[in-house]
Protein backbone atom coordinates (compact mmCIF):
# COMPACT_ATOMS: atom_id res chain seq x y z
CA UNK A 1 0.00 0.00 0.00
CA UNK A 2 1.45 3.32 -0.95
CA UNK A 3 1.57 6.13 1.50
CA UNK A 4 -1.08 8.81 1.45
CA UNK A 5 0.42 12.10 0.50
CA UNK A 6 -1.81 15.09 0.17
CA UNK A 7 0.62 17.82 -0.34
CA UNK A 8 3.29 16.85 -2.81
CA UNK A 9 1.38 18.08 -5.80
CA UNK A 10 0.98 21.44 -4.11
CA UNK A 11 4.73 21.75 -3.78
CA UNK A 12 5.62 21.61 -7.43
CA UNK A 13 8.72 23.30 -8.58
CA UNK A 14 9.61 24.17 -12.10
CA UNK A 15 12.24 21.85 -13.52
CA UNK A 16 13.77 22.71 -16.87
CA UNK A 17 13.19 20.26 -19.73
CA UNK A 18 16.60 20.42 -21.34
CA UNK A 19 19.97 22.25 -21.60
CA UNK A 20 21.53 22.05 -18.15
CA UNK A 21 24.75 23.43 -16.78
CA UNK A 22 26.13 20.73 -14.49
CA UNK A 23 27.79 21.62 -11.18
CA UNK A 24 29.46 18.63 -9.55
CA UNK A 25 29.81 17.82 -5.89
CA UNK A 26 33.16 17.86 -4.09
CA UNK A 27 32.89 14.56 -2.30
CA UNK A 28 30.63 12.34 -4.36
CA UNK A 29 33.33 11.37 -6.81
CA UNK A 30 35.29 9.82 -3.98
CA UNK A 31 32.55 7.95 -2.17
CA UNK A 32 30.19 7.14 -5.03
CA UNK A 33 32.52 7.51 -7.96
CA UNK A 34 30.19 6.30 -10.69
CA UNK A 35 27.14 8.37 -9.78
CA UNK A 36 27.90 11.63 -11.52
CA UNK A 37 29.14 9.82 -14.64
CA UNK A 38 25.92 7.81 -14.56
CA UNK A 39 23.86 11.01 -14.30
CA UNK A 40 25.50 12.40 -17.43
CA UNK A 41 25.08 9.10 -19.27
CA UNK A 42 21.41 8.80 -18.32
CA UNK A 43 20.69 12.33 -19.46
CA UNK A 44 22.69 12.13 -22.64
CA UNK A 45 22.16 8.54 -23.75
CA UNK A 46 18.82 7.53 -22.30
CA UNK A 47 17.01 10.85 -22.32
CA UNK A 48 18.85 12.60 -25.18
CA UNK A 49 19.28 15.80 -23.21
CA UNK A 50 21.91 18.46 -23.51
CA UNK A 51 23.99 18.87 -20.38
CA UNK A 52 27.29 20.66 -20.07
CA UNK A 53 29.90 19.24 -17.68
CA UNK A 54 32.16 22.23 -17.19
CA UNK A 55 35.70 21.49 -15.94
CA UNK A 56 36.17 25.15 -15.00
CA UNK A 57 33.67 25.35 -12.18
CA UNK A 58 34.89 24.98 -8.62
CA UNK A 59 33.61 23.77 -5.29
CA UNK A 60 30.85 26.03 -4.04
CA UNK A 61 32.93 26.15 -0.82
CA UNK A 62 29.87 25.03 1.15
CA UNK A 63 31.83 22.71 3.40
CA UNK A 64 34.18 25.56 4.23
CA UNK A 65 31.25 27.89 4.74
CA UNK A 66 29.44 25.52 7.07
CA UNK A 67 32.66 24.91 8.99
CA UNK A 68 33.14 28.63 9.64
CA UNK A 69 36.24 29.05 7.52
CA UNK A 70 34.75 30.62 4.37
CA UNK A 71 32.94 33.94 4.94
CA UNK A 72 29.52 34.63 3.44
CA UNK A 73 30.83 37.28 1.04
CA UNK A 74 33.37 34.85 -0.33
CA UNK A 75 30.92 32.05 -0.94
CA UNK A 76 28.52 34.48 -2.61
CA UNK A 77 31.30 35.53 -4.95
CA UNK A 78 32.20 31.91 -5.72
CA UNK A 79 28.55 31.18 -6.49
CA UNK A 80 28.43 34.27 -8.70
CA UNK A 81 31.43 32.94 -10.61
CA UNK A 82 29.69 29.62 -11.23
CA UNK A 83 26.73 31.52 -12.67
CA UNK A 84 29.09 33.58 -14.79
CA UNK A 85 30.66 30.39 -16.17
CA UNK A 86 27.20 29.08 -16.92
CA UNK A 87 26.38 32.30 -18.82
CA UNK A 88 29.62 32.07 -20.78
CA UNK A 89 28.80 28.52 -21.79
CA UNK A 90 25.42 29.66 -23.07
CA UNK A 91 23.23 27.96 -20.48
CA UNK A 92 20.54 29.25 -18.13
CA UNK A 93 19.45 26.13 -16.23
CA UNK A 94 21.72 25.33 -13.33
CA UNK A 95 21.81 21.70 -12.12
CA UNK A 96 23.55 21.07 -8.83
CA UNK A 97 24.72 17.57 -7.94
CA UNK A 98 25.11 18.32 -4.25
CA UNK A 99 22.43 19.12 -1.70
CA UNK A 100 24.70 21.37 0.31
CA UNK A 101 25.45 23.34 -2.83
CA UNK A 102 21.80 23.32 -3.82
CA UNK A 103 20.93 24.75 -0.41
CA UNK A 104 23.68 27.34 -0.78
CA UNK A 105 22.48 28.38 -4.25
CA UNK A 106 18.85 28.54 -3.13
CA UNK A 107 19.67 30.54 -0.04
CA UNK A 108 21.99 32.94 -1.80
CA UNK A 109 19.48 33.60 -4.58
CA UNK A 110 16.86 34.23 -1.93
CA UNK A 111 19.24 36.50 -0.01
CA UNK A 112 19.94 38.51 -3.16
CA UNK A 113 16.24 38.71 -3.75
CA UNK A 114 15.48 39.95 -0.22
CA UNK A 115 18.56 42.17 0.13
CA UNK A 116 19.47 43.51 -3.32
CA UNK A 117 22.43 45.36 -1.84
CA UNK A 118 24.14 42.03 -1.14
CA UNK A 119 23.79 41.10 -4.79
CA UNK A 120 25.30 44.43 -5.80
CA UNK A 121 28.22 43.87 -3.47
CA UNK A 122 28.70 40.38 -4.88
CA UNK A 123 28.78 41.80 -8.40
CA UNK A 124 31.46 44.24 -7.35
CA UNK A 125 33.48 41.53 -5.65
CA UNK A 126 33.27 39.24 -8.67
CA UNK A 127 34.32 42.04 -10.97
CA UNK A 128 37.26 42.99 -8.79
CA UNK A 129 38.42 39.39 -8.48
CA UNK A 130 37.80 38.08 -12.00
CA UNK A 131 36.53 40.87 -14.25
CA UNK A 132 33.42 38.78 -14.71
CA UNK A 133 29.72 39.60 -14.66
CA UNK A 134 26.81 37.24 -14.26
CA UNK A 135 23.13 36.65 -14.89
CA UNK A 136 21.20 34.59 -12.37
CA UNK A 137 19.99 31.20 -13.60
CA UNK A 138 16.53 30.95 -15.07
CA UNK A 139 16.04 27.60 -13.42
CA UNK A 140 17.78 26.00 -10.47
CA UNK A 141 17.32 22.31 -9.82
CA UNK A 142 19.00 19.62 -7.86
CA UNK A 143 19.98 16.70 -10.06
CA UNK A 144 17.56 14.45 -8.15
CA UNK A 145 14.81 16.84 -9.29
CA UNK A 146 15.84 16.17 -12.87
CA UNK A 147 15.84 12.38 -12.45
CA UNK A 148 12.46 12.75 -10.71
CA UNK A 149 11.21 14.83 -13.62
CA UNK A 150 12.08 12.06 -16.08
CA UNK A 151 11.22 9.13 -13.80
CA UNK A 152 8.44 7.85 -16.02
CA UNK A 153 10.65 7.92 -19.09
CA UNK A 154 13.26 5.96 -17.13
CA UNK A 155 10.52 3.53 -16.11
CA UNK A 156 9.61 3.06 -19.77
CA UNK A 157 13.21 2.18 -20.59
CA UNK A 158 13.65 0.00 -17.49
CA UNK A 159 15.48 -3.28 -17.78
CA UNK A 160 14.92 -4.14 -14.14
CA UNK A 161 12.30 -2.99 -11.69
CA UNK A 162 12.38 -2.44 -7.93
CA UNK A 163 10.58 -5.71 -7.53
CA UNK A 164 11.72 -8.96 -6.01
CA UNK A 165 12.46 -10.97 -9.14
CA UNK A 166 11.49 -14.24 -7.48
CA UNK A 167 8.34 -13.31 -5.59
CA UNK A 168 7.12 -10.38 -7.65
CA UNK A 169 6.71 -8.35 -4.46
CA UNK A 170 7.73 -4.68 -4.57
CA UNK A 171 11.03 -3.98 -2.86
CA UNK A 172 10.87 -1.75 0.18
CA UNK A 173 12.88 1.42 -0.05
CA UNK A 174 13.76 3.98 2.58
CA UNK A 175 14.18 7.43 1.07
CA UNK A 176 16.36 9.89 2.90
CA UNK A 177 16.32 13.51 1.82
CA UNK A 178 19.21 15.85 2.53
CA UNK A 179 18.18 18.53 5.02
CA UNK A 180 19.17 21.43 2.79
CA UNK A 181 17.01 20.16 -0.06
CA UNK A 182 13.73 21.50 1.31
CA UNK A 183 14.02 22.19 5.03
CA UNK A 184 15.35 25.71 4.35
CA UNK A 185 12.71 26.55 1.75
CA UNK A 186 9.96 23.90 1.53
CA UNK A 187 8.94 25.33 -1.83
CA UNK A 188 12.34 24.52 -3.30
CA UNK A 189 11.72 20.79 -3.06
CA UNK A 190 9.28 18.47 -4.80
CA UNK A 191 6.71 17.63 -2.13
CA UNK A 192 7.96 20.19 0.39
CA UNK A 193 9.80 19.53 3.62
CA UNK A 194 7.51 17.17 5.50
CA UNK A 195 6.50 14.73 2.78
CA UNK A 196 9.14 15.15 0.09
CA UNK A 197 8.32 13.18 -3.01
CA UNK A 198 11.47 13.56 -5.05
CA UNK A 199 12.93 10.14 -4.18
CA UNK A 200 9.65 8.49 -3.19
CA UNK A 201 8.34 9.29 -6.66
CA UNK A 202 11.28 7.48 -8.24
CA UNK A 203 10.82 4.42 -6.03
CA UNK A 204 7.11 4.25 -6.80
CA UNK A 205 7.54 4.79 -10.55
CA UNK A 206 10.13 2.06 -10.73
CA UNK A 207 8.00 -0.53 -8.95
CA UNK A 208 9.14 -0.26 -5.34
CA UNK A 209 7.31 0.63 -2.16
CA UNK A 210 8.28 3.52 0.09
CA UNK A 211 8.73 2.93 3.80
CA UNK A 212 7.44 5.65 6.12
CA UNK A 213 9.06 5.13 9.50
CA UNK A 214 9.12 7.20 12.71
CA UNK A 215 12.49 8.89 12.19
CA UNK A 216 12.05 9.44 8.45
CA UNK A 217 12.52 13.19 8.75
CA UNK A 218 15.48 13.02 11.11
CA UNK A 219 18.84 14.36 9.94
CA UNK A 220 21.61 11.81 9.22
CA UNK A 221 23.94 13.72 11.53
CA UNK A 222 26.42 14.99 8.93
CA UNK A 223 26.36 18.59 10.07
CA UNK A 224 29.86 19.60 8.83
CA UNK A 225 31.60 21.03 11.87
CA UNK A 226 30.13 18.25 13.96
CA UNK A 227 31.55 15.25 12.17
CA UNK A 228 34.69 17.04 10.99
CA UNK A 229 36.01 17.02 14.54
CA UNK A 230 36.78 13.43 15.42
CA UNK A 231 35.78 13.77 19.05
CA UNK A 232 32.30 14.97 18.01
CA UNK A 233 31.56 12.07 15.70
CA UNK A 234 29.75 10.07 18.36
CA UNK A 235 26.93 12.56 18.16
CA UNK A 236 26.94 12.34 14.40
CA UNK A 237 26.81 8.51 14.35
CA UNK A 238 24.06 8.55 16.97
CA UNK A 239 21.78 10.41 14.57
CA UNK A 240 22.19 7.80 11.86
CA UNK A 241 21.83 5.05 14.44
CA UNK A 242 18.54 6.53 15.57
CA UNK A 243 17.32 6.28 11.99
CA UNK A 244 18.57 2.71 11.51
CA UNK A 245 16.86 1.54 14.69
CA UNK A 246 13.66 3.20 13.57
CA UNK A 247 13.66 1.77 10.03
CA UNK A 248 14.94 -1.73 10.82
CA UNK A 249 11.57 -3.26 11.79
CA UNK A 250 10.25 -2.46 8.30
CA UNK A 251 13.00 -4.66 6.78
CA UNK A 252 13.94 -2.24 4.01
CA UNK A 253 15.74 -3.68 0.99
CA UNK A 254 17.66 -0.49 0.32
CA UNK A 255 18.12 3.13 1.31
CA UNK A 256 18.28 5.83 -1.33
CA UNK A 257 19.51 9.37 -0.66
CA UNK A 258 19.88 12.54 -2.65
CA UNK A 259 22.59 14.18 -0.59
CA UNK A 260 26.29 13.32 -0.84
CA UNK A 261 26.84 13.49 2.92
CA UNK A 262 23.78 11.44 3.84
CA UNK A 263 24.58 8.69 1.35
CA UNK A 264 28.11 8.48 2.69
CA UNK A 265 27.08 8.53 6.33
CA UNK A 266 24.22 6.09 6.11
CA UNK A 267 26.56 3.72 4.29
CA UNK A 268 29.69 4.19 6.36
CA UNK A 269 28.13 4.58 9.79
CA UNK A 270 26.58 1.14 9.34
CA UNK A 271 30.12 -0.16 9.08
CA UNK A 272 31.16 1.83 12.16
CA UNK A 273 28.22 0.71 14.29
CA UNK A 274 28.74 -2.93 13.28
CA UNK A 275 32.42 -2.74 14.20
CA UNK A 276 31.91 -0.79 17.44
CA UNK A 277 28.77 -2.36 18.81
CA UNK A 278 28.24 -5.43 16.65
CA UNK A 279 24.82 -4.27 15.49
CA UNK A 280 23.54 -4.49 11.93
CA UNK A 281 20.13 -3.38 10.72
CA UNK A 282 19.41 -5.16 7.45
CA UNK A 283 17.88 -8.50 6.67
CA UNK A 284 19.82 -11.67 7.50
CA UNK A 285 22.07 -9.84 9.95
CA UNK A 286 23.87 -7.70 7.40
CA UNK A 287 23.74 -4.03 6.54
CA UNK A 288 21.15 -2.20 4.40
CA UNK A 289 22.55 -1.24 0.98
CA UNK A 290 22.66 2.54 0.52
CA UNK A 291 22.38 3.98 -2.96
CA UNK A 292 22.47 7.28 -4.70
CA UNK A 293 19.45 7.99 -6.92
CA UNK A 294 21.70 7.82 -9.99
CA UNK A 295 22.84 4.35 -8.97
CA UNK A 296 19.22 3.34 -8.46
CA UNK A 297 18.25 4.78 -11.84
CA UNK A 298 21.31 3.15 -13.41
CA UNK A 299 20.38 -0.26 -12.03
CA UNK A 300 16.83 0.15 -13.28
CA UNK A 301 18.17 1.06 -16.72
CA UNK A 302 20.37 -2.02 -16.73
CA UNK A 303 23.78 -0.40 -16.19
CA UNK A 304 26.50 -2.66 -14.87
CA UNK A 305 26.72 -2.19 -11.07
CA UNK A 306 30.50 -2.06 -11.17
CA UNK A 307 30.38 0.60 -13.89
CA UNK A 308 28.14 2.49 -11.47
CA UNK A 309 30.92 2.31 -8.87
CA UNK A 310 28.92 0.26 -6.42
CA UNK A 311 31.95 -1.80 -5.41
CA UNK A 312 33.04 1.28 -3.45
CA UNK A 313 30.15 1.03 -1.01
CA UNK A 314 30.88 0.03 2.53
CA UNK A 315 27.71 -2.08 2.73
CA UNK A 316 27.68 -4.70 -0.01
CA UNK A 317 25.00 -4.13 -2.62
CA UNK A 318 24.85 -7.73 -3.91
CA UNK A 319 21.80 -8.69 -1.79
CA UNK A 320 19.83 -5.94 -3.53
CA UNK A 321 21.17 -6.87 -6.97
CA UNK A 322 20.14 -10.47 -6.37
CA UNK A 323 16.64 -9.47 -5.29
CA UNK A 324 16.19 -7.31 -8.38
CA UNK A 325 17.55 -10.11 -10.53
CA UNK A 326 20.33 -7.89 -11.87
CA UNK A 327 22.93 -9.87 -13.85
CA UNK A 328 26.44 -9.01 -12.79
CA UNK A 329 29.85 -10.63 -12.68
CA UNK A 330 30.95 -11.16 -9.06
CA UNK A 331 34.51 -11.73 -10.25
CA UNK A 332 34.63 -8.33 -11.88
CA UNK A 333 33.74 -6.42 -8.71
CA UNK A 334 37.24 -5.23 -7.95
CA UNK A 335 38.54 -4.94 -11.48
CA UNK A 336 39.15 -1.43 -12.72
CA UNK A 337 38.11 -0.02 -16.07
CA UNK A 338 41.36 -1.35 -17.50
CA UNK A 339 40.63 -4.85 -16.16
CA UNK A 340 43.31 -4.66 -13.48
CA UNK A 341 42.65 -5.57 -9.85
CA UNK A 342 42.07 -2.42 -7.83
CA UNK A 343 42.35 -4.05 -4.40
CA UNK A 344 39.57 -5.31 -2.17
CA UNK A 345 38.50 -4.21 1.30
CA UNK A 346 38.98 -6.42 4.33
CA UNK A 347 36.02 -8.35 5.62
CA UNK A 348 33.76 -6.15 7.70
CA UNK A 349 31.17 -7.06 10.31
CA UNK A 350 28.49 -5.14 8.42
CA UNK A 351 28.75 -7.58 5.52
CA UNK A 352 28.99 -10.84 7.47
CA UNK A 353 25.94 -12.69 8.65
CA UNK A 354 25.87 -13.57 12.33
CA UNK A 355 22.77 -14.63 14.18
CA UNK A 356 23.98 -12.85 17.31
CA UNK A 357 24.12 -9.53 15.58
CA UNK A 358 20.61 -9.66 14.26
CA UNK A 359 18.93 -6.46 15.26
CA UNK A 360 16.03 -6.99 17.59
CA UNK A 361 13.13 -4.61 17.68
CA UNK A 362 13.29 -2.81 20.98
CA UNK A 363 9.96 -2.06 22.54
Amino acid sequence: MSMKRNSWKEYQKEIAEDHYYYARSCIRQNFFPGSEAAFLRILQENLSKDIFDDPRHTSCTGIGYHSDIVPLETIMTVVARQFSLMNAAGYENFASSCITSFGIYTEILETWNEFPETEERTRENLWKATKREFVKPKNLAHTSDIIFHFREEIARQAKYRLVNARTGEPLKGVEHIGCHYAKIFPKSGVGGAEFPYVLAGMIESWGGEVVDYPERRHCCGFGFRNYLVQANRGYSVANSQKKFESMAPYKPDFIVCNCPGCTMFLDKWQYTIAEMEGTTYGQDGIGIPVLTYEELAGLVLGYDPWDLGMQMHQVNVEPLLDKMGVRYDPEAKYLGKNGKFIGAPREAAVNCFSGERLYRIQR
Binding site: A231, R233, Y235, A238, Q241, T272, M276, E277
Partner: protein, 109 residues
Protein backbone atom coordinates in the same frame (compact mmCIF):
# COMPACT_ATOMS: atom_id res chain seq x y z
CA UNK B 1 41.58 -3.02 17.05
CA UNK B 2 40.31 0.21 15.53
CA UNK B 3 40.97 3.38 17.55
CA UNK B 4 37.82 5.34 16.91
CA UNK B 5 38.53 8.38 19.03
CA UNK B 6 34.87 8.69 19.97
CA UNK B 7 31.95 6.67 21.27
CA UNK B 8 28.35 6.73 20.09
CA UNK B 9 26.17 9.16 22.03
CA UNK B 10 23.14 7.87 23.86
CA UNK B 11 19.73 9.43 23.19
CA UNK B 12 18.82 12.21 25.59
CA UNK B 13 15.08 12.27 25.01
CA UNK B 14 12.70 11.39 27.79
CA UNK B 15 11.24 8.28 26.19
CA UNK B 16 7.79 7.60 27.56
CA UNK B 17 7.65 4.31 25.66
CA UNK B 18 10.68 2.90 27.44
CA UNK B 19 10.44 4.53 30.86
CA UNK B 20 8.85 2.43 33.58
CA UNK B 21 6.05 4.66 34.83
CA UNK B 22 4.93 2.36 37.65
CA UNK B 23 6.55 4.34 40.45
CA UNK B 24 5.42 7.63 38.90
CA UNK B 25 1.84 6.39 38.85
CA UNK B 26 2.14 5.22 42.44
CA UNK B 27 3.38 8.66 43.50
CA UNK B 28 0.60 10.48 41.64
CA UNK B 29 -2.00 8.16 43.08
CA UNK B 30 -0.88 9.03 46.59
CA UNK B 31 -0.63 12.72 45.86
CA UNK B 32 -2.83 13.61 42.86
CA UNK B 33 -2.45 17.34 43.50
CA UNK B 34 1.14 17.07 42.29
CA UNK B 35 -0.27 16.92 38.76
CA UNK B 36 -1.70 20.40 39.32
CA UNK B 37 1.76 21.96 39.36
CA UNK B 38 1.83 24.78 36.80
CA UNK B 39 5.57 25.23 37.04
CA UNK B 40 5.41 28.77 38.36
CA UNK B 41 8.75 28.19 40.08
CA UNK B 42 7.93 29.95 43.30
CA UNK B 43 9.01 26.84 45.25
CA UNK B 44 12.47 27.00 43.71
CA UNK B 45 12.60 30.77 44.10
CA UNK B 46 12.15 30.51 47.82
CA UNK B 47 14.01 27.24 48.34
CA UNK B 48 16.82 27.35 50.90
CA UNK B 49 18.67 24.50 49.22
CA UNK B 50 17.98 25.69 45.67
CA UNK B 51 19.65 29.01 46.30
CA UNK B 52 22.90 27.39 47.38
CA UNK B 53 22.99 24.11 45.45
CA UNK B 54 21.77 22.80 42.09
CA UNK B 55 18.62 21.48 43.77
CA UNK B 56 15.48 22.28 41.79
CA UNK B 57 12.40 20.80 43.39
CA UNK B 58 10.11 21.57 40.45
CA UNK B 59 12.39 19.96 37.91
CA UNK B 60 13.01 16.85 40.00
CA UNK B 61 9.34 16.10 40.58
CA UNK B 62 8.52 16.78 36.92
CA UNK B 63 11.22 14.33 35.84
CA UNK B 64 9.93 11.79 38.34
CA UNK B 65 6.44 12.10 36.86
CA UNK B 66 7.96 11.28 33.45
CA UNK B 67 9.62 8.17 34.86
CA UNK B 68 13.11 9.64 35.14
CA UNK B 69 14.01 8.48 38.63
CA UNK B 70 17.74 8.40 38.60
CA UNK B 71 19.24 10.70 41.21
CA UNK B 72 15.84 11.91 42.44
CA UNK B 73 16.35 10.41 45.90
CA UNK B 74 19.75 12.05 46.32
CA UNK B 75 18.38 15.33 45.05
CA UNK B 76 15.50 15.29 47.51
CA UNK B 77 17.99 14.71 50.30
CA UNK B 78 19.19 18.26 49.73
CA UNK B 79 15.82 19.55 50.95
CA UNK B 80 15.92 20.98 54.47
CA UNK B 81 12.17 20.52 54.92
CA UNK B 82 11.91 24.14 56.01
CA UNK B 83 8.42 24.36 54.51
CA UNK B 84 8.73 27.73 52.78
CA UNK B 85 7.83 26.20 49.41
CA UNK B 86 4.55 24.95 50.75
CA UNK B 87 3.67 28.44 51.92
CA UNK B 88 4.23 29.97 48.49
CA UNK B 89 2.69 27.27 46.27
CA UNK B 90 -0.35 28.84 44.52
CA UNK B 91 -1.77 25.38 43.77
CA UNK B 92 -1.66 24.33 47.40
CA UNK B 93 0.60 21.35 46.78
CA UNK B 94 2.00 19.70 49.89
CA UNK B 95 5.53 20.13 48.65
CA UNK B 96 7.21 18.82 51.81
CA UNK B 97 4.99 15.78 51.51
CA UNK B 98 6.18 15.35 47.90
CA UNK B 99 9.79 15.35 49.06
CA UNK B 100 9.09 12.66 51.62
CA UNK B 101 6.97 10.65 49.17
CA UNK B 102 9.62 10.63 46.47
CA UNK B 103 12.26 9.62 48.98
CA UNK B 104 10.06 6.82 50.22
CA UNK B 105 9.16 5.53 46.75
CA UNK B 106 12.43 6.00 44.94
CA UNK B 107 15.00 4.96 47.53
CA UNK B 108 16.34 2.18 45.33
CA UNK B 109 17.05 4.36 42.31
Amino acid sequence: MIQWGYTINQPRAVNLDRNDLTAARRIIRQMPELQACIACGSCTATCTAGNLTQFNFRKVHTLVRRGEYEGAYEEMNKCMLCGKCRLVCPRGINTRGVVMLIKRELGEY
